[in-house]
Amino acid sequence: MEAFLLQLAAGIATGGIYASVALAIVMIYQATHHVNFAQGEMATLSTFIALTMIQAGLPYWVAFAGTLVVSFVMGALVERLIMRPVQHAPILTHVGVYIGMLLIIGNMTGWVFGYTIQMFPSPFEGGKPMLGGLISSHQLGSVVVTLAVLILVYLFFTKTSLGLAMRAAAYNPRSARLVGIRVDVMLALGWGLAAAIGSVAGMMVAPIVFLDPNMMLGILLYAFAGALLGGIDNPPGAVMGGFLVGVLENLAGAYIVGTDLKLTVALVIIIGVLVLKPSGLFGRVVFTRV
């Protein structure tokens, strides 16, 4: 029984990682109705920038805030310079651009910062490990941070007019323009916010898995699964989905299929959700009328 609880705890701990990245994915989806394959690489790059700031002597939270700003600007620039020229292009072009960005950003990060793993400090270190040593104070802290970001995002989208405008611009750009919403500004804003959230995820994840340019690749897959499972248009759902995926993956790996097939579990979740319940467990079902 104890082993099961420990696995459960381990699953929740890993799930926290997936949940924070899933939130970034959902953010981008809310703002643009697209899923950015390069999200993980952008988050990793942001985390390296944060590390550079910290190593230059800046205190943690100053570097944290600085990274948020830099990432926001990066995201907005990506939207302006790279996504804008192809915004009316068919979806194939969009996918191509995401892949291109994945290649460029991923390789550039490796080239500039090297591939050796690095330590990334956590602001929550020093506490005693809990739950049999599985949940460190950092992991608890990062879950709190994720939830805080989640609440901010939720409030932003549902309670502020800017958030509403952003959602409108994503759902129906034409009608949004007619109502006076600056759709292009909304898109840039959306990308910037998503990049910022991604950087938070990166900074929370790095102390646990150690920072290197390939940090996000495995995580991204599980985060996608989590976002889809919870509902890609539903921030709280996606966070729940992230936790669920962490638990499912750990339990399945420990008790059902063995650790050799954990990636397959993620794949099965993704396919299963998309085929059986595409809107996810908590998402809203959208009907398209012809």
């Binding site: 697209h34 899923v35 394959f37 790279i82 020229p85 192809v86 292009a89 979806i91 194939l92 072009t93 969009h94 996918v95 191509g96 651009v97 892949i99 291109g100 960005m101 994945l102 290649l103 460029i104 991923g106 390789n107 550039m108 490796g110 080239w111 690749l217 897959l221 996608f224 699964a225 889809l228 050799d260 097939l261 954990k262 990636l263 397959t264 993620a266 794949l267 993704i270 396919i271 998309l274 085929v275 595409p278 012809v290």
Partner: protein, 327 residues
């Protein structure tokens, strides 16, 4: 059509260009060209389902791997001849493609890309699984031997194993390209494109969208699978590490740069994915991936129709300068 003699000359020139390397290139470059032709075939497969039929697949490396492993297992474990394995590999890949095509029916563009991307990431792990290890050789992989040219051929034309392999690859690819060209030119090709461009109208006109889409996946998987089978024998080695998600991305890049929905584009694409990494390496030894990604994005911005589109436009300008161009 009054273009007939021109067409015929073009075909002959094409054949000569394809066969010339046998005598002009030495082993290493011939090997590279063999790999380029194989890549072209793989990109052709991707083009059928993504280019012509609009279903975005970022996981075609999986079909490539299946084709490679079917051939390798049959040759290494069951001692089949290379030629016997090819239709088998094609059939199995076709079936898997169909199986993938079924749930794909329910998925739209981006989601399908996501699912196939996940498939590409999961494939190496699946290949290494203990349950399959006895057949696949697990992480150590399997070794193969290229077929030696048969006596009746070498008595007429002295060929070494590399040249014979190139000839084989050329013939098999040629057949596949011909079949694909025939398919695309005809009713089915038009139906595929209609499904891509105007799905609702197509359905309203009575086309069986489901059959078309799953069929497209099956044929696409078959062709890429055959490419995989050829590559296994050309390299004489398969291992799970040869089939990471980067392979799927490579095919995708080849398709986009070569020219989406274009047979000629597939050929360009194959040449591109084989030779550009070397060029990128000479530009920047540390980050060829960055150059690669930049080229992809530049093409998407400036040349969305790829090399093939560029060629088409040039030919159009040359053939009737000054005349209004019909669409």
């Amino acid at each position: 059509m009054n273009a007939s003699p021109a067409r015929f000359l073009l075909v002959v020139a094409g054949l000569a260009a394809a066969l010339a390397p046998l005598w002009v290139l030495e082993s290493f470059h011939l090997f590279q060209l063999t790999m380029a032709v194989i890549m072209s075939l793989a990109v052709l497969g991707l083009n059928i389902v993504t280019g012509y039929n609009g279903q975005i697949s970022l996981g075609h490396g999986a079909f490539f791997a299946i084709g490679a492993y079917v051939t390798s297992i049959l040759m290494a474990q069951a001692d089949w001849s290379f030629y016997a394995t090819l239709p088998f590999a094609a059939a199995i890949c076709g079936m898997v493609g169909y199986a993938v095509g079924l749930p794909a029916l329910r998925l739209g563009g981006l989601y399908l890309a996501l699912v196939t991307f996940s498939l590409a990431v999961a494939v190496p792990q699946l290949l290494k699984h203990k349950a399959l290890e006895a057949w696949t050789g697990g992480v150590q992989g399997l070794f193969l031997m290229k077929p030696d040219p048969p006596r009746w051929l070498t008595s007429v034309l002295p060929l070494n194993a590399d040249q014979y392999m190139y000839l084989n690859v050329l013939i098999v690819s040629g057949i596949c390209f011909l079949l694909a060209w025939n398919l695309i030119r005809g009713r089915i090709g038009r139906a595929l494109m209609a499904t891509r461009d105007h799905p609702t109208a197509a359905e309203a006109m009575g086309m069986d969208i489901a059959a078309l889409k799953t069929g497209a996946f099956a044929v696409s998987a078959m062709i890429t699978g055959v490419a995989g089978a050829l590559s296994a024998v050309a390299v004489e080695f398969v291992a799970p590490d040869s089939f990471t998600f980067l392979l799927s991305i490579t095919f995708f890049v080849g398709m986009v740069v070569g020219g989406v929905a274009s047979i000629l584009g597939s050929i360009f694409g194959g040449l591109f994915v084989l030779f550009v990494p070397n060029i990128a390496e000479s530009i920047s030894r540390a980050a060829p991936g960055v150059i690669y990604g930049m080229i992809l994005i530049i093409f998407l911005f400036l040349l969305p129709e790829g090399f093939a589109g560029l060629v088409r436009r040039l030919l159009a300008k040359l053939s009737s300068p000054g005349n209004p161009q019909p669409k």
